[in-house]
Amino acid sequence: MKQLITFPLITALPLMAALPASADGESLYQQNCSACHMVDGSGIQGAFPALTDSDFVAGDLEDLIRVVAYGRAGMPSFGEELASTELAEILGYIRETFNDTDTDLSASDIERLKVTATAKMGREE
């Protein structure tokens, strides 16, 4: 009996790991992005773009990765601030949760696009 119960639990694990909008993505988003883009991704008009129902967020993945990694239009560069796995989690979260867009993104997808040095976030000395 025990074995019968245990079996489906084990097979369920890989399925859970494959869920894109993971709890990690959400907590990483809240931690790193919510001060500007708000807890619900609604942004602040005239300052920080909304990430919900966003053609840009839901659109070309490479463009999105570049903006997050290198910064753009005042957005900080996170490419050397956060690990690629973390960036992948966050991007998965904002696409899945805020834009209902299936996303299969790995750390290596991020790494592949991080070819040149990002803007240094500390001070120039």
Partner: protein, 542 residues
């Protein structure tokens, strides 16, 4: 020291490249450099009685009168103030539009009653005791930022020393090493790391075990250097400690010679990861001597403001920037009247941060807009803590400088370089950047304060005990800035940055973002100097 040179007015070049008409200093020097290379350029500079760094010393000598031409200056930060002051003296009619109710831009000082709105947060209201203050924007003037010092001198703004190095301050790191989890005086780490290093090197040199071609005489001198550098015993070449690292018991009067302290073992320093605070010389912007205006950094914009009279319109939020062949038109929301107004002028110097400017309607070219979008801005937070005693001075004998926390969430702790031995004081408990700052600003205010106190209490017993009130700043959430300072990637510097320095019709940009001194007041001032020289040339040749 130097008077401005005889006015040199606008010049040009004929098709052969020869210079025609009257010269500007810039044209003349450019031509010299082109013809004779760096050597002739240097002699040319010398002929003007100026060094190569003159562009950083004082404003450009502008010849000819602005004849009342109207220059609309967007932003009353340092770049805007400098432009209004210098162009105003040259006969231009300057009109400054400033969104805030005060001048200075990021150059602000928080005192009792000061309110700083931040997006997505409750307004931050400063409730320090009267007389206490905190520079939550720029806070240091390096001795070689001659442009900043030009104005403090010109306006007679009294300065005091900003203590940027204090070997009696602490280094702290959590971890498993022998020196982790305790506050260690920086002087101990510095003396011991250099002492151990010098000892190892000296003994190798002494035994001729270094594969470096040195004559016998050179070897002796090198040894002499190492003995002095590391405070080594002259005979044994051992590092046995030195008074400079501090005493176990201080020398005193009468029969008290004091008790020497013992060095930390090299392995303890290495395993505790505390060696990172030691380096031969500080970064260029971090060196002694540093200054701050007595009474607060906002003394600088206030001095400009006194000169400018009613040139500045406060509470004016720019909503649109347009230009035609013969003028510029700026729309803005007048905060007092609560209505839209329009201002027309001959030229515009726009000092609004690129992070904010991009959200303002404009008629820049696609190429220019795209260049503006290539920049990122650094998130950065500062948190000031008012303490009811100056325990760092009274109990821990730390007067100014920084303690290195090795905690990037919070950053280093900085002690005030003013109000020595007073009753209370303001500590800078947080200064962080990038993702750390983004994360910090997402925390509820109480948690931010608690995090700061949690780090500080590991170093000072009085830290949590004597805490009274805080002032919390996240520059990326300040609507007029949306970031601490511009951060350029190498690629953006190369591909986008140069264009932004060029006039766009009758509009020029200026600010720290258009310098290689981003985040420094000198960057804003010198960018302004550069751009008003271009603006003046345009006006003179039209």
């Amino acid at each position: 020291m130097h008077e401005q040179q005889t006015p040199l007015s606008s010049g040009g070049r004929d098709r052969t490249g020869a210079i025609t008409g009257q010269l500007t200093r810039r044209h003349f020097l450019q031509a010299l450099g082109a013809v004779g290379g760096a050597g002739m350029l240097m002699s040319g500079l010398a002929a003007f009685n100026i060094g190569i760094a003159s562009a950083q010393d004082r404003p450009p000598p502008l010849s000819g009168d602005g004849n009342g031409k109207t220059v609309i200056i967007l932003g009353a930060g340092l770049a805007g103030l400098v432009a209004a002051y210098e162009l105003g003296r040259q006969g231009y009619n300057c009109k400054v539009l400033e969104a805030r109710r005060y001048s200075g831009g990021r150059c602000q000082t928080a005192r009792r009653g000061f309110v700083l709105p931040q997006l997505g947060q409750d307004d931050e209201v400063c409730d320090f005791d009267d007389g206490e203050y905190f520079n939550h924007g720029p806070w240091r003037i390096p001795y070689h930022h001659r442009s900043t010092l030009h104005y403090t001198q010109e306006f007679g703004i009294p300065l005091e020393i900003f203590v940027n190095h204090n070997e009696a301050a602490f280094a702290y790191r959590d971890g498993e090493g022998a020196l982790n989890g305790q506050a260690v005086r920086q002087k101990e780490i510095i003396a011991d790391m250099r002492g151990h290093t010098a000892e190892i090197l000296a003994k190798h040199v002494d035994q001729n075990a270094l594969d470096v071609p040195l004559t016998a005489e050179e070897r002796e001198k090198f040894l002499e250097f190492l003995v002095g550098e590391g405070h080594l015993d002259r005979e044994s070449l051992d590092y046995l400690g030195t008074g400079g690292r501090g005493y176990a018991s201080d020398p005193g009067a009468g029969l008290n010679p004091g008790e020497a302290s013992s060095p930390h073992a090299l392995s303890a320093l290495l395993n505790s990861d505390l060696f990172g605070i030691v380096s031969s010389v500080s970064g260029y912007t971090q060196q002694k001597t540093m200054f701050q205006p007595i009474g607060g950094m906002d003394r600088i914009p206030q001095a400009f403001e006194e000169q400018l009279g009613d040139t500045i319109t406060f509470g004016a939020r720019v909503t649109r920037l347009q230009q035609s062949e013969d003028g510029v038109v700026v729309d803005y929301q007048d905060g007092d009247a609560g209505e839209s107004r329009q201002l027309a002028g001959d030229y515009c110097l726009c000092t609004i941060p690129l992070s904010v400017l991009r959200n303002i309607e404009n008629d820049f070219t696609e190429e220019f807009r795209s260049a503006m979008d290539a920049v990122s801005y650094t998130p950065t937070c500062k948190l000031a803590l008012q303490m009811k005693s100056r325990f760092w001075e009274v109990e821990d004998h730390v007067f100014g400088g920084h303690s290195f926390t090795h905690n990037s969430e919070v950053g280093n702790i900085s002690y005030p370089s003013t109000g020595w031995q007073g009753k209370k004081g303001i500590l800078q408990g947080v200064y962080n950047f990038g993702a750390n700052a983004a994360q910090f600003s997402a925390l509820p205010r109480e948690q931010r304060i608690d995090k700061a106190l949690g780090v500080g209490e590991k170093i000072h017993a009085g830290y949590r005990r004597d805490f009274e009130t805080a002032f919390s700043t996240a520059w990326h959430l300040v609507p007029e800035n949306l970031g601490g300072w511009a951060s350029w990637s190498d690629e953006a510097r190369q591909n986008s940055y140069p264009l932004l320095n060029e006039p766009q019709g009758r509009v020029l940009l200026a600010g720290e973002h258009l310098s290689y001194m981003t985040g420094w007041m000198a960057g804003a001032i010198e960018s302004s100097w550069l751009q008003i020289e271009k603006l003046h040339e345009m006006a003179m040749s039209s």
